[in-house]
Symmetry: C2
Subunit: 129 residues, 2 copies
């Protein structure tokens, strides 16, 4: 894949964000070197294919994109108060899936786990008031 300023810009914006971004938010943050929306769509598609990013559909039914630090199997944990999202590289689900394989008769090959909660900071803020 060729190195272009547009691609570098999109990846930079994703990397610098601590939360998933919509296409328009990405576009907004590419202050200099702002590219057209079609370019952002086209590249995000590539990035997802390559495992550099992931798309998540929020409860508001809006599609957002996150940069993936790890290309390997991982999950995302998002704070429901501040919106921050962190990557979880340890997957503790594997064991319980073996039981489920016996129970269901399926051979399980793949899974996605989406986690939501309150981050440390928002827990403290909650206690204070």
């Amino acid at each position: 894949m060729r190195k272009t300023p547009q691609r570098e810009g999109i990846l930079r914006v994703l990397t610098e964000s601590d939360r998933p971004l919509t296409v328009e938010e990405i576009w907004d943050r590419m202050a200099e070197n702002r590219s057209g929306l079609p370019t952002i769509y086209r590249n995000l598609e590539r990035f997802v294919q390559e495992g550099w990013a992931e798309n998540v559909l929020g409860q508001d039914q809006v599609m957002r994109f996150v940069h993936c630090t790890s290309k390997h199997h991982h999950h995302h944990l998002q704070c429901e108060a501040c919106g921050r999202m962190v990557e979880v590289d340890s997957c503790g689900v594997q064991d319980s899936l073996q039981q489920l394989e016996v129970l269901s008769g399926f051979r399980i090959t793949r899974h996605h786990l989406s986690l939501f909660g309150l981050c440390r900071e928002c827990q403290s803020a909650e206690k204070r008031h």
Copy 2:
């Protein structure tokens, strides 16, 4: 919520299906008493709110809807060969989340697990050829 033939039709189609359906597929299967697409959209939204159905975005980026047998916490397991989807009522994830809470500092309040694999029948079919 009022009982209307349209609502009964949509719920019937969802209940009779062993896999998630697109809005158009639901519309197709409402042979008699076929309602307008806006009606289907409006009611699916209600059904999801009420916990009678769930929407899932496939890898093909198409939105589909599944009937939920259980209104309580559950997951879905789909066969990647035949497309059939079953509901999983036992959730073995809870334990491993406690470890993750310590690790991450988050208090985890909610999670979604999407499972994919091969059902018993498709495993057999795989072996035969």
